[in-house]
């Protein structure tokens, strides 16, 4: 039996992305039609039953988030979809945005109905310029066909979707930074509380969901929460888009039910297909640059929120970056840290300065100049950044380093003695070969 389950990606590559006709023929807008027969409470109850956890990385229960926003009496409320997908190894929202935008639009429209919102914003990362055009075309066609705008499907419900974009900053994926960016301010996180559900976009109550989360909504409404839950495990309902990259034979996006193993994802011929060129797997990086790194011994962990968490790993965004034996851990971490040096917003001290100091020590390690004291400082910086940074970006910037520290301690120490097992750092002469 196939381990792939195309629940929300079934239209991808099959229909014309911006064609309402194709979308409806494929069963689209049935969810919205059903939603109009339901009360907001009934819809939220299904989302809760589905145990849908936020697919952007934070894994916050979507049903609870919706319930909290519904309870807030102020209007207008805004729907904001986070399509600022932007870290190396994560490209699953790209699939939905480019190949089935109407599913995202339908999900947004249902949430608009739930919260009596008239305006939804989708913040699509600047680099997805071509996708923005496809998405706009899908919006325009939905309006023409009466699925968006005024009197949607003959009701008196009005809902409009606006595409927003920024100049390109990873931190704008942080929800409050994203809202600042939509408002035209610098994309830097806000202090919380107040929570965005209370004081969000333009200071009004706001829902912020990830693209993949919202794409699940039409299916959950149509099939019911219980059925959706049954696709996955008891605690991790439904399916997940994973994106495989790095040293995997078949790189790409796959929709899997929660519960398959990491080994399945990486080695199953229908998915990753293993490591190319007969190389050994060295480690895999889960959930994006801010996610943890795992190794061979953890391959049989079940891919679901609970089992990964128990193994010190996480789902995160759904990214799985595979690295083979030719990769040096220190060298890889330098790349991760450089990414965060580039993407830190700079507002708080630990993130602004910590990445830089971590990078300096990693460089010393890869040059064979590091000392035991440097190792101690590195460990302290992991703790300081993780425990004191302002937002999730800084708090998770050292996660990869921290997990590598535990898995590959020996390789760090090797570098103190100018040894690089992957033979990436130092010259042959320096390595004493």
């Amino acid at each position: 039996m196939s381990k792939i389950n195309k629940l929300i990606s079934s239209n991808c590559g099959v229909i014309r992305p911006d064609s309402v006709e194709d979308y409806v023929k494929a069963g689209g807008y049935e969810g919205l039609k059903k939603a109009f027969t339901m009360t907001p409470e009934e819809i939220i109850s299904e989302v809760k039953k589905a145990k849908l956890l936020g697919r952007g990385g934070a894994a916050y229960p979507a049903g609870s988030k919706w319930e909290q926003l519904l309870a807030i009496p102020e209007f207008p409320k805004y729907i904001v979809i986070n399509a600022d997908e932007g870290e190396p190894g994560t490209f699953k929202d790209k699939l939905l945005l480019s190949q089935d935008p109407l599913r995202v639009i339908e999900g947004m429209t249902i949430s608009g109905h739930v919260f009596s919102s008239h305006d939804g914003y989708i913040y699509i990362r600047g680099e997805y310029r071509a996708i923005q055009k496809v998405f706009q075309s899908a919006i325009d066609n939905a309006v023409k066909a009466g699925y968006l705008g005024t009197n949607i499907m003959g009701t008196d419900f009005e809902f409009n979707i606006h595409i927003m974009t920024g100049a390109g900053a990873y931190v704008c994926g942080e929800n409050s930074a994203l809202l600042n960016s939509i408002e035209g301010k610098a994309g830097r996180p806000r202090i919380k509380p107040p929570h965005l559900a209370e004081v969000g976009l333009f200071l009004m109550p706001t829902l912020v969901n990830n693209v993949e989360s919202i794409a699940n909504i039409p299916t959950i409404v149509l099939d019911g929460g219980d059925k959706y839950l049954s696709y996955g495990t008891k605690d991790s309902g439904g399916t997940k888009l994973i994106c495989l990259s790095g040293n995997a034979v078949n790189r790409g996006v796959y929709e899997i039910p929660f519960g398959v193993s990491l080994r399945d994802a990486i080695y199953d011929p229908e998915m990753g297909g293993g490591v190319p060129n007969g190389k050994k797997l060295k480690f895999f990086h889960l959930g994006g640059q801010s996610g943890p790194i795992g190794a061979e011994a953890q391959l049989d962990t079940m891919y679901c929120y609970k089992a990964l968490r128990n193994a010190g790993l996480s789902v995160g965004s759904g990214a799985i970056v595979v690295m083979d034996e030719d990769v040096c851990v220190i060298d890889y971490l330098k790349g991760v840290t450089e990414f965060f040096i580039h993407e830190s917003c700079g507002k708080c001290t630990p993130c602004r300065e910590g990445n830089k100091q971590i990078y300096a020590i990693l460089c010393k390690l890869s040059e064979g100049e590091a000392t035991k004291e440097d190792m101690a400082v590195l460990k302290r910086m992991i703790d300081t950044m993780t425990n004191t940074s302002f937002c999730g970006l800084g708090q998770s910037a050292a996660v990869a380093l921290n997990t590598c520290w535990k898995l590959f301690k020996a390789e760090f120490e090797d570098h103190l003695h100018k040894k690089c097992p992957a033979q990436v750092c130092f010259t042959e002469q320096e390595r004493g070969e």
Partner: protein, 581 residues
Amino acid sequence: MGHHASDPNKIVNITIDGIPVSCPETTLILDAAKMVGIDIPVLCYHPDLKVRATCRVCVVEMKGQRKLKTACGNEVWDGAEFITNSPSVRQARKDVLELILAEHPQDCLQCIRSTNCELQQLARDFGISKPLFANQPKQIPIEDSNGVIVRDMEKCVKCGRCVEMCQEVQTVGAINTAHRSVEYEVTTAFDRPLQDTTCVYCGQCIAVCPVGALYEKDDSEKVWQALADADKHVIVQVAPAVRVALGEEFGMGSGSIATGKMVAALRRLGFDKVFDTDFAADVTIMEEGSELLERMSHGGALPLITSCSPGWVNFVETFYPDLLPNVSSCKSPQQMFGALAKTYYPQKAGIDASKIVSVSIMPCVAKKYESARPEMNGSGYRDVDIVLTTRELARMIKQSGFDFNKLTDEEFDAPLGLSTGAAVIFGTSGGVMEAALRTVYEVVTGKELANVDFDGIRGLAGVKEAEVDLDGQKVKVAIANGLKNARQILDKIRAGECEYQFVEIMCCPGGCIGGGGQPWGTTAATKEARMAGLYQADRETPIRQSHKNPAVKALYEEFLGKPLSHKSHELLHTHYHPRHK
């Protein structure tokens, strides 16, 4: 944890380091800790500002949780248990400081804020001696070409206080944060020098900076040189708000009235005459009060808006040039004094005006800009040659070595040192208005004012309003301090929705007591104390109305004729121009 706004009426029970505390749910962890005598270290936090949680120095532990929370950025909640003094908390705070210091020049000995720097204090408290990281400050040139405010951004710790001050409190928007990560910085648009921005030189950025990144251009050396020059007759005027703040630099409590010691100190420094800006404040009331009555009776532009505060004048020129007709043509007291110091005074004292060096001590940095305005030379000489802030004067006194606290009180010199209680309250928000009303009332009604205290327009509120009955004629007045508050009134005037006849605007929050040149560490509480000092000085002054100042009466009889006379206009009035944006 639900998404609910915290309730100021809900009392919650928490523990801090095991000590039980009951406080409103809206209390910051920082303030709750203060209630049980725990001072959590802070750097970006300022009690009067909203900026929070960017430096991460004030982190505390929550029982059972690994991630730390900032004490300045989080309110308490029922049942919370905070630990402020665990090994991990101390280590985290120290590490955060090390990260800041790695980027900081660490040239404390040459820094204006040495011994008065919040970062230096923290580094000392945490016993930081051997650096954890290599010290690699960025090489950023000092910007001081505007002649007023010096920006030494190498020293900036990126706390964001100055940005909030400029953007939100003053709504000037000359500086903001830019770039990301290690390039993150506080800067002007396109890195322009301040003089090419909307900066109004209020100096409030300086007032809230915790380190030596922002300070006034120091002109004290010019004063030393003039004092050492036997050929020069060096006179000094002191603004009212200086006398209730200078003492703080010598260990006195906030708001202590140090007038007598200050005068003695200025004589010790070698000034030939020690005069008082308050004398010119009384003259300002004569001129501005007359201008108000003139406009009210002859249909001039109303409301009349005061022009004593040079930061405010820069602001109206920049942002509301269409309202310039409403701004009083009176020069500020500093400039009026300067003009008289180069005309009336030398004539009366028999001194060659060209030998006079006119120095002023101001609570303000915008006064440096004002004194340098090309038009401020109605006498043919610069009205004011050198402007020093309260801080610069304090440094001169410290350099001289005498013990300020042991000085015996001395009196200002006559006649330009004689003043009234009305003049001294110019130093606080509402003071110019109150002083004007004390005089205008008597001029209009011909009656004696039974009670000269206009309590309704005192205090730190951003906008204050009052209505005064001038013998049947109702005059509506308003007072704004801080430029965001000024906008409220100016927007009303623009919209034609304003019923006021007279408006006082002070650039700095609280007025001159909170000026950008005042001692560092000024907070709302400091301002309250300084304000109380000024009102006390007013009460203790025998004459409390400007038109009753005998020296001012003599000035008009001997020299100016009457208010708004030709000579007054020549020397004491000016006009303002739209300013570049």
